[in-house]
Amino acid sequence: MTYALIPLLPFAAFLILGIFGHWIKDKAHLVAVPAVVVSWLLALMVFFDVAGGHQTSFPLYTWLTSGLLDIHIGFSIDRLTAVMLLLVTTVSSLVHIYTIGYMHGDSGYARFFSYIALFTFSMLMLVMADNLLQLFIFWEAVGLCSYLLIGHWYDRPAACSAATKAFIVNRVGDFGFMLGLLLVWYSFGSLDYSEMFVLAHESAGEVINVLGPFGGTWDISVLTLICVLLFTGAVGKSAQVPLHVWLPDAMEGPTPISALIHAATMVTAGVFMVARLAPLYNLSSTAMTLVAITGGVTMVVGATIALTQTDIKRVVAYSTVSQLGYMIMACGLGAYAAGMYHLLTHGAFKALLFLGCGSVIIALHHEQDMRRMGGLKHKLPITYWTFVVGSLALAGFPLTSGFFSKDHLLVSAWSAGPLGQVLTALGLVTALMTAFYSFRLVFVTFWGPSHVDPHHADHVHEPSNTMTLPLIVLAIFSILTGYLGIPEFLDPMFETGAGEAAHGGEASTGIMALATGMGLLGIAGAYYVYVLKPALPDRLARQWQSLYRASLNKWYVDEVYDRTIVRPTFAGATGLWKRVDVNVIDGAVNGVARAIAWGGWLLRLTQSGQAQHYALGMALGAMVLFTLYFFL
């Protein structure tokens, strides 16, 4: 029952706050924080249980039966789940505590806590699921929480649009996920992970002709199709190209949820899903290639955009897109453990960076444009130093957690064949950009002369303890998670363990040296450009104007979607409604009515009420009958 309590405690907190939030108001944290912290303690217990070799899975209740379909809600606890539980509850607890300070005085204080409690519940149920449908249910539930929390400040139009956009873009991905799920059920007759994995091996050779209904022939392996469809869901949830567009806009939400949902946990659900379904993906090299390339492209695209953004949260958001690309790429190359390892370290340092941004934003009265910051390191020392730790980890500076996980990831990727080597090269270039933009952020925000609005400049101060404490704890984790032996802990989960053999080889040492060098070079570059030569950025931007514009405008992906999909859809709907539904279909209905009325009017002419007319009619009728009878 301990296991069931982990998600149920936050759920209880959600129910209490959801129903009585109106009365609890500014004491909401007294309900939510203890629930999540106890959850965290229980997750810690589970972690040590699992580390001791204990694995379990058990059903909770039967959700739905229909014919041969039999779906239950249940838990499956293994090493992968255990580390995810720990990540989710840790970050969630810290974000809950941080929220006390960040959202202090907000009119939706209790509502905010109830939603993040609901999110924590959903995310925990997602990682503990023992079947694909439960995963999907909570996959959408976390999406709902994300939607509600992005739109928390519902009087801001930008926040509302961002919320709607996030939900709909995710729906597009989930459309594929749903079809994949149906194909799993259709092919294997079960949605339970354990049964799926066994049956997948047996149906490895089966093909499906996807062009069959159109008379063509294009045989695709069933497993490939399943993996690709399910991956569509991950593309949406984990903000991979081309469905990455919702994540940066999601930064309209309050910063604590950017840290919790849009950096550390929910967006990593796609990576988790691919890792969870590793036994399926391993059977389809085509799907794996697609996954790896998608991850690789996302990694580069995210980093190139992050280079020029001026909103501090958007820089970190695009950095998240890019880092998620690393993880997905690793999974696609079979290096699941490496992907998961980076997921965990990233969870710590990225949550730290977002919460750091939050501190800055609060200190500057909701200013997010880094061109109006600068020189904050003395005024916000705790924020500054923890932010530097987070940035070092993101840049892969030696001995931080990001250093270990990124090196591990790239080394594993290198050993995964030619595609892996190409992607590793891209990964190294991206590492350079990553270090550069993260320290651009540090230098522009915290160093140099102050560009802070003079109204606020005097009373910029460090926020309350509830906000700085999580920063310090996360800074410690940003170092510490590199030393916990996570990949070794996870490796037994994944049969292939790509790249493990290559460890210690010459190539791997070379990659590690290169990656470290890239990180240091990036930091040095940022120092040179933003500290030593502050005039240089503007000159570079002018010199490379088209590239700069493209990066600043996020490669115009939003504009393209707007022109090709969004506007035609709405225009088409209005046009179709007015032309077809009102004119043609309803016109036909009213036309029938009019025709009948007209026919009635015509017939009415015969009823003139004059006997002569009727007599004439009778005579004519008689003549017609007479003629017919005698002459035909």
């Binding site: 039966t65 041969l68 249910i137 519902y154 509302c160 709607t164 459309f175 179709l576 409604w577």
Partner: protein, 498 residues
């Protein structure tokens, strides 16, 4: 009318509908899910020649629909409490007559009795729209009446033909066990289709619905959407499938295509609407497309999903129409542009509206997801492409509903409406909260409801292959026997005999 004051009329209607609910609710526990037989039957001779009976009974398909009907009606009375100010007595009387006829349709086991209920329902509905409706009410009322009446005429002809070919009986169960020549089945199927497809409404017979909804008073819209639309789908399931299995199989591709067009087209039309009621009306076309889709893929998951989806649509769309009624009472406008930014002045209302919208777009954890999921599972074994296209409707549903929510719930309210935007009063809460509880109950734990359907649906599918199967038999899902093509069978076939 002066014997009964307006307030007394309201109370009589409320007490009567609540009493009906109290009588019907125990059926949930008394119902035996282990059998596909009709339960709680009543059988009284009505007319001896031809043999027509007052014959009633419930099975796992009608049970949820009956419970939904009697559950919705008290909410309709409550919703009309202050909204209806003219001829209150007449209004409440019509609502109560509606309840009688609607429950009658779901429980009638005699075809003539069914037809009487089916047609009788038109009159009070016509009056509800025509007397208590909006500005363009007469057009809408006549359109509704003539449209459905035209379909029903052919239903009557079909019933009479079945009487002669099915052994001179109007007993629905007996007629369901007869076998009819394929060519005759085709004609009867088309006649049934005329009646049922208009009622559902299936594309392209849907244009009466937006007009009827927009002009009807709130209670009328709720009754129309939640219950009346289910009659057509119920007709397909109770009559077309068991009585005309060969024709049903033959028409499956047509029905599936029409359903999918309805899903996509209805959702797409909803995207263009500026009137809340029209938006929900078109969303109904889309959602009912899932129901007919599930019915005509002819397998366990599809049909169970369809039945569940009927109930779901009743709960969710009923809730949405109640919400529109509540805001209409305040701002006297149904236009989205007039009702913006309700979250801050009306937080409870906003919360409930969002829940209904999320349910309507099929969010997992709410009722509609379960129904849509089952329908899609059923459809998938019939055609993967059809499933993929139908699933697109789910993306569109998210788009039109969330865009509606973004405009209505979020944002800043119009200043001159602000004083009118009071949050929900206890009466209004009482109309919405029960529906919300049902949404989550069915969404989180649908199995008790589904387990009551299994035997009846299994039996329906089994009866389509015209073999007597034991109630415990478990036909494999998705198996469709080949089409019967022999049309030279002798016409006089065994009918059931009591």
């Amino acid at each position: 009318m002066s014997f009964v004051t307006e307030s007394t009329a309201r109370w009589i209607a409320l007490v009567a509908t609540l009493a009906d609910l109290c009588v019907a609710l125990p059926l949930w526990w008394l119902f035996d899910p282990q059998t596909s037989q009709m339960q709680f039957t009543e059988h009284v001779a009505w007319i001896t020649s031809p043999p027509i009976y007052y014959s009633l009974g419930l099975d796992g398909i009608s049970l949820p629909l009956v419970l939904m009907t009697v559950g919705i009606m008290p909410l309709c009375v409550l919703a009309s409490w202050n909204a209806v100010t003219t001829r209150v007595q007449g209004f409440m009387a019509m609502v109560l007559v509606m309840e009688t006829t609607m429950v009658g349709v779901f429980v009638a086991l005699d075809f003539v009795l069914f037809y009487v209920f089916w047609e009788a329902m038109l009159i009070p509905m016509y009056l509800l729209i025509g007397v208590w409706g909006g500005a363009n009410r007469l057009y809408a009322a006549i359109k509704f009446f003539l449209y459905t009446l035209a379909g029903s005429m052919l239903l009557l002809v079909a019933i009479l033909v079945l009487y002669y070919y099915g052994g001179h009986t109007f007993d629905i169960l007996a007629l369901s066990q007869g076998t009819y020549p394929a060519s005759l089945q085709t004609w009867i199927f088309l006649a049934f289709f005329a009646a049922f497809a208009v009622k559902v409404p299936m594309f392209p017979f849907h244009t009466w619905l937006p007009d009827a909804h927009v002009e009807a008073p709130t209670a009328g819209s709720v009754i129309l959407a939640s219950i009346l639309l289910k009659m057509g789908a119920y007709g397909f399931l109770r009559f077309s499938l068991p009585m005309l299995p060969d024709a049903s199989r033959m028409f499956t591709p047509v029905m599936v295509v029409l359903s999918i067009i309805a899903i996509i087209y209805g959702a797409y039309m909803a995207l263009a609407q500026v009137d809340l009621k029209k938006l929900i009306a078109y969303s109904s076309v889309s959602h009912m497309g899932f129901v007919t889709l599930g019915l005509f893929v002819l397998n366990q998951q599809g049909i169970e999903g369809a039945v569940l989806q009927m109930v779901n649509h009743g709960i969710t769309t009923g809730g949405l129409f109640l919400c529109v009624g509540i805001i209409y009472e305040r701002t006297h406008s149904r236009l989205i542009a007039d009702n913006v930014g309700l979250a801050s002045p009306m937080p409870q209302y906003a919360t409930l509206l969002v829940i209904f919208a999320l349910s309507s777009l099929g969010l997992p954890g709410t009722n509609s997801f379960v129904g849509e999921f089952l329908v899609l599972v059923g459809t998938f074994s019939w055609s993967k492409i059809a499933t993929a296209v139908a699933s697109l409707g789910i993306i569109l549903a998210a788009t039109y509903l969330l865009w509606m929510v973004q405009r209505v719930v979020f944002g800043v309210p119009t200043p001159h409406h602000l004083p009118k935007l009071r949050d929900l009063n206890p009466r209004e809460l009482a109309t919405l909260v029960p529906l919300v509880l049902l949404i989550f109950w069915i969404g989180l734990y649908p199995n008790p409801l589904m387990s009551r359907m299994h035997q009846s649906v299994t039996n329906t599918i089994a009866s389509m292959s015209r073999e007597k199967v034991a109630p415990t038999a478990h036909p494999s899902a998705g198996v469709i026997t080949p089409l019967l093509v022999d049309s030279e069978e002798p016409l006089e076939i065994q009918g059931g005999s009591r």
